[in-house]
Amino acid sequence: METVIKQKIKQIKKGDHAAFEDVVTFYQNKVYQICFRMIGNKHEAEDLAQEAFIRAYTNIDRFDEKRKFSTWLYRIATNLTIDRIRKKKPDYFLDAEVKGTEGLNMYSQLAADQALPEEEVESLELQTYIHKEILALPPKYRSVIVLRFLDELSLQEIADVLEIPVGTVKTRIHRGREALRKRLRHV
């Protein structure tokens, strides 16, 4: 598939709209999924995913063809989404870490204490519940969890997308996994 994509990129660089259309069709679900799982609502996810593709198109000359296109595209999508989350709720982004909570911040600590009432869990579809729990994670944990378990990227690929060391990816996955465990163990 990568070779087909590489060919398409060459055509896009020459201004071929049809080649770009193929690339959008091919990656639309992946990109939309990243945005949706991170931002939480369909309307904004669609807007962000569209924006990610448009940025990819307008900046295509800056894409290094020796690299993997999907990594570059996902990076645009995650960066846009993280930016949007920051702009949306600046106070939400309290990243002050509380001692002894294994790196999770104050927000998640508070949220974890507010156990969901039993009947509410039952009334919600399991899907929606899990989706909400992922969204309750601070964005930096959310992004690794989404990329790892929903998009099934390797640790190295996640490191490339987020431009952070693999070690940091692992730490975030471990902490994100622990946080989710606390919230999902009653399900």
Binding site: H17, F20, E21, V24, T25, Q28, N29, V31, Y32, Q33, F36, R37, K42, E46, A49, Q50, F53, I54, Y57, T58, L126, Q127, I130, H131, I134, I145, F149, L150, L155, K170, I173, H174, R177, E178, L180, R181, L184, R185, V187
Partner: protein, 215 residues
């Protein structure tokens, strides 16, 4: 084994598919002996399968279409230049009329004063503009209603409108002699007829349009 530190670290390593055989034996040994860790491990594995079980979401059906509609349009410049290229005669005619109504003809007739685009270090004597021997003009030079004699150097195009380029003594035709070309790095144009003047303006205007569009 320390449950909180070592066992937990091994569990996560296992979940990342990075456990060595030796570590795996170690972890398995501990889990068999420690109920607490066994529960924790079970919860972690279940958490992952719950997250993975949440269905894959798909982009809305008209997603690609919407992206394609939002793509930046082809720049207008390409549209203009294509039109000009395909309609050279109409372009020339259109520019001709623009210039006509813009008073170019009257400018041609009224303005008989000698003028030169660059004044620095140039000498004007009896309707002759002279680039002195020790002077180098940087950039294009335009002389109107006068002749031009180049004794120094011009680093650019030279245009003489309603006048001519005077030969230096002991020099052949300046416009095609190698000797002369050494003095001017760019194009040399002499414009003496109204029509030539028009054509010169047309070329200039069209070039300006394209230059502006490209910015």
């Amino acid at each position: 084994m320390d449950c909180k530190k070592e066992a937990l670290a091994l569990m996560h390593k296992y979940l990342d598919d990075e456990l060595t055989q030796k570590e795996e034996r170690k972890l398995r040994g501990h889990l068999q002996a420690c109920g607490q860790c066994q529960k924790h491990f079970h919860e972690l594995k279940r958490t992952i399968s719950l997250v993975q079980s949440s269905s894959q979401v798909s982009a809305p059906p008209d997603f690609t279409k919407k992206v394609m509609e939002r793509l930046p349009k082809e720049k207008k410049r390409t549209n203009y230049s294509r039109w000009f290229r395909h309609h050279p005669f109409l372009t020339a005619a259109a520019v001709f009329f623009i210039l006509m109504f813009g008073g170019v003809f009257s400018a041609w007739n009224d303005d008989q004063q000698v003028s030169v685009s660059k004044q620095d270090n140039l000498v004007i004597q009896n309707q002759v503009v002279i680039v002195p021997e020790n002077v180098t003009v940087e950039g294009d030079l335009v002389v109107r209603n006068g002749d031009l004699r180049i004794e120094g150097l011009v680093n650019g195009d030279v245009t003489v409108i309603n006048g001519e380029i005077l030969e230096k003594e002991n020099q052949d035709n300046p416009l095609d002699g190698d000797k002369y070309m050494a003095y001017v790095s760019g194009d040399v144009n002499e414009v003496n007829q109204v029509f030539e003047w028009m054509w010169y303006q047309v070329k200039k205007t069209v070039t300006n349009i394209f230059t502006l569009e490209e910015e």
